[in-house]
């Protein structure tokens, strides 16, 4: 109940917090959609390089698998934050309604008695919404951890790609460029999500 009876300011800042998290996740989804292209590019470059970069071809194939997994994980993250935004907005509405009921209750003993059952019903609804939001946050944190673990494996793949690029002969520079692209993209996703995770844990 204490969570429900927090004041309007903290409820609005909860919705704002959710909106900020949503914007961060949308940014990461946009960036991660580029990983698939980079992975495809890596495979094409490896194919053009032929035998010289067989190792790179293996890594880029694994990278393609990674990019599909990342896409799925980001879709999951997007769905979870969507639910959270919706539920936080619903809570905002309930708080707004509750505020009006409290204003009536403040008008004296008779009003207080009249509003008691009404507020009790409202509090029950808000309790349920609060529990939904709690579950949403929990699921979001779990999914965020999964995506971060996936990014760590992506980081390992990009380091492997850089090593393999060295053995690419005359295609080495091109392979290195692609490997750098992979590393930059994965690192960017990783750092945004790591920051988001620490903000969510505050």
């Amino acid at each position: 109940m204490e969570e429900i009876r927090s004041d309007d300011t903290s409820q609005t800042s909860d919705l704002r917090r959710v909106v900020q998290a949503n914007e961060d996740i949308k940014k990461v989804i946009r960036i991660s959609s580029g990983v698939n292209l980079v992975a495809l590019n890596a495979m094409l470059v490896a194919k053009r390089s032929g035998e010289k970069s067989r190792g790179f071809a293996v890594v880029s194939s694994e990278l393609r698998v990674f990019s599909h997994k990342l896409e799925g994980a980001m879709t999951g993250l997007g769905a979870l934050i969507f639910e959270l935004v919706r539920d936080a907005a619903a809570m905002r509405k309930q708080h707004h309604e509750r505020r009006h009921l409290l204003n009536i209750q403040a008008r004296g003993q008779q009003m207080r008695k009249l509003m008691e059952p009404v507020l009790a019903r409202m509090d029950e609804r808000m309790q349920k919404t609060g529990e939904e939001i709690g579950r949403d946050w929990h699921q979001l944190r779990l999914q965020l951890n999964r995506v971060l673990q996936l990014c760590e494996s992506g980081g390992s793949l990009s380091r492997s790609a850089k090593i393999e690029a060295v053995y690419g002969g005359d295609m080495s520079a091109t392979l290195k460029q692609v490997a750098n692209q992979i590393e930059e993209t994965v690192n960017e996703i990783f750092s945004i999500l790591k920051l988001l995770r620490s903000q969510l844990n505050e």
């Binding site: 914007e23 997007g78 905002r92 509405k93």
Partner: protein, 247 residues
Amino acid sequence: MKKLEFIYEDGSHKWAAVARDPERPNYLIDTNEYLVINGSEALLADPGGMEVFSAVFSAISAEVDPYTIRHLLASHQDPDVISSLALWLDFNPEIKCYLSCLWSSFIPHFGGAEETFIAIPDEGMGITLGNLALEAIPAHYLHSSGNFNLYDRKAKILFSGDVGAALLPPEESGLFVENFDRHIRHAQGFHRRWMGSNAAKLNWCERISRLDIDMLCPQHGAIYRGEDVKRFIDWFAALNVGSGIRE
């Protein structure tokens, strides 16, 4: 869940429709909300009722940063148009709301303070969104006595509020009109009952027919495109309105 769909894009100038919620209870009339975006600023036309706030807010937030919404437009005073006002202002107190001067002391019953509102005079006015010029076009008595459409000359889009509205069955709930003759059957009863003045209707048809419009976007039902815009205007001009009451 409501979904946001972009219906027009030209670089950072976009229109989006927020429509079709399969989870909406039947006792709530279905509504379309429209977002006009120009760069980092947006205007939300007819933001919707309080009961659909979370659906609209989450649909918008999935694609657009809701903090970019600097303005609301209330085409008229109905609760399905603007009763979510207080919740939008809770989220961002800096939001301004354009409304007909006729309703400037009525709509605040939904929320807001004096500084929230920008009253539109009866003859209409320009609304700027960054460097984009929009126009609030009078549509009084169709159906509200103080009523405005929103015209984007560059995008050739007219947000027409309740004009053009249709109450669609679930099996014909596409966002765009695909078969005008089949669609308009669902608009007839609404227009006959809600639109109260044949004179106001003909005046509107005459003015609107002179505008260059690719999409006519109503607050209920489906969007008219291309030739269907003219077809609708002609159909509306010929319809006897204010005739929904049996004598």
